[in-house]
């Protein structure tokens, strides 16, 4: 009985609390994320692909031929402490210049949010094998022998090897899997939560985010493409290093208007 009363009281307080909040009368809005891409300070678009024109931290010259990645799990923390979680995802396809701008289908109330985050890749909970028709159609799946689910990123290109010959790299980020014991694989969630800080959400808010591609090869792990180039999906250690390097890949450019 006491518990029921407590629940009832909580609802009443919540209701009263909401009615006292001026923002309840505001119309919910969608927010738009715009993704741009850089090699350090140089902007990169698909027009820059297919030519060896970038040099990584390890001094290796590379080209980019394919780049697409998924972001998911947008979470906004309101100044009141309320947390809004938007269970949506978007496949940013730089190769084909598609989905670089992503407007949430779900709406939130305008206001001051002290923290806005999104996830590079999927959390373990959301990384459900075959669950997303758009990503299946885009052929973004991870083989079941590696735990299934989805790629976080496909970043393909070529580098000049020790003989100055072009060689391929497939920097594919996925949930790390250790298959040392094939009958008992262990998984590590190597997705990344990207914290964009405080954002004041109004109607038509645009959150402009940039990815610094250079970071994937530099910090804290200086990437040697002569050693780590292809077949990185089943490589547990490589996946962990990718995740570590991803920590500083994304940053907020600005929020408009």
């Amino acid at each position: 009985m006491k518990l029921k009363n407590l629940i009832y009281l909580s609802f009443c307080l919540l209701f009263l609390g909401c009615t006292n909040d001026a923002e309840i009368n505001l119309k919910p809005v969608s927010i738009t994320f715009n993704f741009s891409h850089f090699w350090q300070s140089t902007a990169v678009t698909n027009a820059d692909f297919n030519t060896i024109k970038f040099t990584n931290e390890n001094g290796q010259q590379i080209s980019i031929e394919r780049l697409r990645y998924v972001i998911s799990d947008i979470v906004l923390t309101h100044k009141s402490g309320q947390i809004v979680s938007l269970k949506e995802h978007n496949l940013v396809d730089v190769t084909n210049n598609q989905n670089l701008s992503f407007t949430t289908s779900k709406s939130i109330f305008p206001g001051e949010y002290t923290r806005v985050t999104f996830r590079f890749g999927f959390s373990n909970q959301d990384n459900v094998d075959g669950a997303y028709a758009d990503l299946n159609t885009a052929n973004f799946n991870v083989p079941s022998m590696l735990g299934g689910g989805y790629h976080y990123m496909q970043f393909d290109g070529k580098y000049l090897d020790v003989n100055s010959m072009e060689a391929p790299f497939n920097y594919h980020a996925i949930r790390a899997v250790d298959r040392a014991d094939p009958n008992n694989p262990t998984f590590l969630d190597t997705s990344l939560v990207v914290d964009l800080g405080a954002v004041n959400v109004e109607s038509n808010t645009q959150i402009n985010v940039k990815m610094n591609l250079y970071e994937w090869f530099s910090n804290p792990n200086r990437w040697n493409l002569n050693l780590l180039n292809t077949v990185l999906m089943p490589n547990f250690s490589a996946q962990v290093q990718m995740s570590q390097n991803g920590a500083n890949v994304f940053s907020l450019v600005n929020v408009t208007p």
């Binding site: 031929e65 159609t137 052929n139 083989p143 497939n170 077949v231």
Partner: protein, 355 residues
């Protein structure tokens, strides 16, 4: 005076409209059709592409089928679409190159036709030249090395036919026949060509068992360190078994056929061709855009030892400098065994697709 005249005219108009004997005939409404989508497709893929200006109807599909098999579309009435796209051969012709009405051979292998409504980028043919199925259907009729006719002649022939004007009237609301309505009908029929009932589909649905060899072949297919086929050719979660994208898969060091590059004009696209579906391979030999490989063994050997380097070779092609991924003989044999589990016999025998 003028007002009286207008009043009289309006009255006469009203009487004439109300007279039952001069009502226009009620317009025939074609019967809308929804595609019969295989279970795995509806579970795993987004909805197929049906253009708003060419919805599927019973009458449109039936007309498209009749046209697909009609040799009147060619210059000398000796070739139809089905001449190079035989339903018994998964809508290809098992020739390296197909000969046209004048006996001239093309330079590309006839592509099989199925699951076309799931090509979301809408780029058709090996090189991606044709944007949309309707536009693709325009090409063979007028191509001098194919049917070598012209659309005015074809439309006139069909207009004089005893059946077609009525069929077009019922499908599209007009008995006037032109290239647009002909290609719309053919595209409707082509969108119904769905292949999704192979042994592997039944395995995924829990209705069939794979042999150990077939299972190992699937693992070779999905293993990034061995076949790594899945990055371009789908998986159990993409039952199209193609990404419908364009890749240079290491066939040549230099290109006689530029593929996508000839369409876009971008040298970075040279040597890239659309990934074909791996369904129904048993019916679709020879393989590749130029039909250079007569057998599946040759195809697998190509990826294992035969890759050639070129500036646009896809970075997904592994160990190009060594010729490929160096599969063991057993993995090669098992990979072939798996690929053959994608055979859909019901598709090639479907009476709805036969003449």
């Amino acid at each position: 005076m003028c007002q009286r005249f207008l009043l009289l005219w309006s009255f006469l108009l009203l009487i004439s409209c109300s007279g039952s004997g001069v009502n226009p005939p009620e317009e025939y409404k074609p019967v809308a059709v929804n595609l019969e989508i295989p279970t795995l497709f509806s579970q795993k893929l987004i909805a197929p592409v049906i253009p708003n200006d060419n919805p599927l109807t019973q009458e449109g599909i039936a007309l498209g089928k009749k046209l697909f098999f009609d040799k009147q579309l060619s210059k000398n009435n000796r070739q139809s679409c089905a001449s190079c796209h035989d339903p018994k051969k998964a809508f290809t012709d098992q020739q390296q190159f197909s000969d046209g009405v004048d006996g001239t051979f093309g330079t590309r292998n006839s592509m099989p036709l199925f699951n076309l409504a799931w090509n979301f980028d809408n780029r058709f043919t090996w090189g991606g030249k044709e944007l949309g199925l309707e536009r693709q259907a325009l090409e063979p009729v007028k191509n001098p090395i194919e049917m070598h006719s012209n659309w005015t002649t074809v439309a006139n022939k069909l207009q004089q036919d005893s059946e077609y004007p009525t069929l077009f009237l019922r499908a599209f609301g007009t008995s006037k026949i032109d290239s647009a309505s002909i290609t719309k009908a053919i595209a409707q029929f082509e969108r119904t060509l769905i292949s999704g009932d192979s042994k592997f589909d039944q395995y995924l649905l829990g209705n069939a068992q794979l042999t150990p060899e077939e299972l190992n072949g699937f693992n070779v297919f999905m293993d990034e360190a061995r076949g790594d086929c899945f990055h371009c050719h789908g998986s159990e979660n993409n039952p199209l078994w193609t990404d419908n994208q364009f890749h240079n898969n290491g066939l040549d060091a230099t290109f006689k056929d530029l593929g996508l590059g000839a369409v876009t004009g971008d040298p970075n696209d040279n040597g890239k061709f659309r990934s074909p579906s791996l369904r129904n391979l048993i019916f679709t030999a020879p393989y590749m855009h130029d039909g250079r490989f007569a057998t599946l063994e040759e195809v697998i050997n190509h990826y294992s030892e035969g890759l050639k380097n070129s500036p646009t070779v896809d970075p997904l092609m592994k160990k190009v400098n060594q010729g490929g991924v160096q599969l063991s003989p057993k993995d090669k044999a098992d990979l072939k065994a798996f690929l053959l589990t994608l055979t859909d016999n019901d598709f090639v025998n479907n009476p709805s697709f036969q003449n």
